[in-house]
């Protein structure tokens, strides 16, 4: 029974990381930007949730989405729009710079200490389903992850704007020639990554109840690494890679014996190394991967 409980917890952790990887993968697909600063969108939304939840919870949720989307659009307008034609490595370095810069800004504005508040305290309780004690927050994050993943899939395959985003991520230049407005498609993907970041921030703040300047770094790092081993060129690959890494983190935390449990994160990175040796082009190498060696 404990195994099933651990499986549910691991699935919920995997769902959160998959959402982060989806946000990164969407932006990467359209403009070859592996956005390290995605973590600071999560942090920004986290601050909004922590600061406003005691005031009014609907306001906090709306504000977190608005903050993350606005920040994502601002990043695009202020930095990434101007270096769109640069190679992916330059974009990655720039996003790393934006990330560190925003972390220091959060330091300056909110202080280096973590801010705490109970976000969605009702979710901290656990329910018993058929003899299994399951954290409500695990269920919520699985459901939220599934809904957003399916919603994003429907949006990308069924709606006009979604099709434009996919066309742009297949071949940006050809899409432009065919009359897709590049600026708005890119802005749209940034906005979507902001919405996903707000969802991640909700789950993480409900779990921990506190936010610091580097709140979003860990999940972003794992999601990026997951995307890299899943194959950045393909959306499904990066989502699956993110899920695997999150799943592994949770599983190692539960099952490693005490004397070696401190090394759980190290084991995750070792697992990544092993996957790289087995599948050097990523588990689901996209068709672009050859060109970008």
């Amino acid at each position: 029974m404990t195994f099933l409980q651990a499986l549910i917890d691991a699935t919920s952790a995997g769902a959160v990381y998959a959402l982060a990887a989806l946000g990164i993968g969407l932006v990467f697909g359209v403009m070859r930007l592996a956005n390290f600063a995605n973590g600071e969108l999560i942090t920004g939304a986290g601050y909004a949730l922590i600061l406003l939840w005691p005031v009014s919870w609907p306001l906090a949720i709306v504000a977190s989405i608005v903050v993350a989307v606005a920040l994502a659009l601002f990043m695009d307008a202020a930095v990434f729009r101007w270096i769109r034609s640069q190679p992916p490595a330059t974009l990655l370095i720039a996003s790393f710079g934006v990330s560190i810069l925003l972390q220091r800004v959060y330091d300056g504005v909110f202080g280096t200490n973590v801010l705490s508040a109970a976000v969605a305290p009702a979710l901290a309780s656990s329910v018993t389903i058929g003899g299994l004690r399951v954290n409500l927050i695990s269920v919520v994050s699985i459901v939220l992850g599934a809904v957003l993943l399916v919603g994003m899939h429907v949006f990308l395959t069924r709606t006009r704007m979604g099709l434009q985003v996919r066309a742009a991520s297949e071949d940006f230049r050809a899409a432009r020639v065919l009359g897709i407005r590049a600026g708005s498609v890119i802005a749209l993907t940034f906005a979507l990554s902001g919405i996903l970041a707000a969802a991640i921030a909700f789950v993480l703040t409900a779990q921990s109840g506190s936010v610091g300047p580097t709140f979003g770094v860990q999940v972003t790092l794992f999601a990026l690494i997951g995307s890299a081993i899943g194959g950045l060129g393909r959306l499904g690959g990066s989502v699956f890679g993110g899920f695997i890494v999150g799943f592994a983190v949770s599983m190692f935390t539960t099952w490693l014996p005490d004397w070696i449990n401190d090394f759980r994160i190290a084991f995750v990175y070792l697992l990544v190394a092993v996957v790289l040796v087995i599948a050097p082009n990523g588990l689901f190498a996209g068709r672009h991967s050859k060109e970008r060696t």
Partner: protein, 355 residues
């Protein structure tokens, strides 16, 4: 390389033979570093202290250039080799009685090991190079961009191991103290000059030339029989060893070694130096490291509060990294090849791009 062959260069009417012209790319950085160091050590006491750190960062940035500049593949993981170098030097130079007091769980051979500072420096380079070789075997199989991202994993892995493995260091969250100051400013300067020379020598090698060919055209190089992965691995190993030297120098300046110091902030500072200077030439690495160190020194003075006439100007702490981040982003937008970089000329395919 896409540049046209130029066996002889004309310079104010005199024809300079190619080897001499090439030596120029070594002599200028050496001379500039030497002159800047000499001048700085006279400015003030704080400037002399910061100079030590500037030289340590210079070594690390030159080491990073050895891989990033020649291969065109990003690495965010070099601070891992810096950490390994720092750890090795600390374990070899801290007196055994202090070691047994702060690290009771150390492996016996580590508890007894000690070496003279320069021998310890060489061992630090060897160990860091070995770690680079082993990790490179996995990392270098990846595509360029994915490899860059995966080097984050390497950094985190090494930091986690150094934090928690009691047999090779202090308990989690604690630091190694009692590190003797083995190198004075003069010897650090000579170490830095030696590292520049070594990086330059590597840059002249056949392997480095093939690697640069693969950087400039990743399709043509393998088609011409260049084993890209092998040469990337060689560069990664050399650059890891040099970064280990940088870490050893840095930690003995710092006097304290703690795993959490080898962070993303450290990674960012050194990457910013490389980007601002221009990552395709060693000259760019040198200029970037010196320029950002100077700027960082001045901002550090302002953070403490600087008397300008009658007013004391002081910046909030943390403004150093904000300024650095802003400068890096601005450079990437307006001059992506760095301050030393050559601007792209129209109608000619430029090698000045990083994949």
């Amino acid at each position: 390389m896409t540049t046209s062959p130029a066996p002889r260069r004309r310079f104010t009417g005199i024809t300079i033979p190619e080897p001499l012209a090439r030596l120029w790319t070594l002599a200028v950085p050496l001379l500039v570093v030497w002159v800047v160091s000499l001048a700085t050590s006279f400015v003030s006491q704080t400037a002399a202290i910061d100079l030590g750190y500037a030289l340590a960062n210079l070594i690390i940035v030159v080491a990073m250039w050895t891989f990033i500049g020649n291969s065109g593949v990003l690495s965010f993981g070099h601070i891992a080799f810096v950490a390994v170098g720092a750890w090795t030097l600390s374990l070899l130079t801290i007196p055994p009685n202090i070691k047994s007091a702060i690290m009771p769980d150390l492996f016996p051979f580590l508890a007894q090991a000690s070496a003279s500072p320069f021998v310890a420096l060489l061992i630090a380079a060897l160990v860091a190079g070995l770690v680079a070789l082993l990790s490179g075997l996995a990392l270098m199989r990846l595509n360029g961009l994915e490899a860059g991202i995966a080097t984050f994993a390497l950094l985190m892995l090494v930091v986690q191991i150094l934090t928690y493995w009691k047999q090779i260091g202090p308990k989690a969250g604690q630091s190694m103290t009692g590190l003797p100051r083995s190198f004075d400013l003069q010897s650090i300067l000579f170490i830095a000059l030696a590292v520049i020379a070594l990086a330059w020598l590597y840059g002249q090698s056949r392997s480095a030339r093939m690697l640069r060919a693969s950087r400039d055209n990743v399709q043509a190089a393998p088609a011409s029989g260049i084993r890209v992965t092998l040469h990337r691995l060689i560069a990664f190993t050399v650059s890891g060893a040099l970064a280990g030297i940088g870490g050893a120098v840095w930690v003995q300046l710092n006097g304290v070694a703690q795993a959490s110091q080898f962070s993303l902030d450290f990674t960012f500072t050194t990457i910013a130096m490389l980007v601002v200077g221009g990552m395709l030439s060693m000259w760019g690495a040198v200029v970037g490291a010196l320029a950002i160190s100077a700027l960082s020194h001045v901002l550090g003075l302002f953070e403490k509060g600087l008397q300008l006439g009658d007013v004391v100007v002081s910046l909030p702490s943390g403004s150093r990294l904000i300024t650095l981040g802003a400068i890096m982003v601005i450079i990437l937008i307006f001059r992506p090849s760095g301050i030393t970089g050559v601007e792209r000329r129209p109608g000619r395919s430029s090698p000045a791009s990083l994949r």
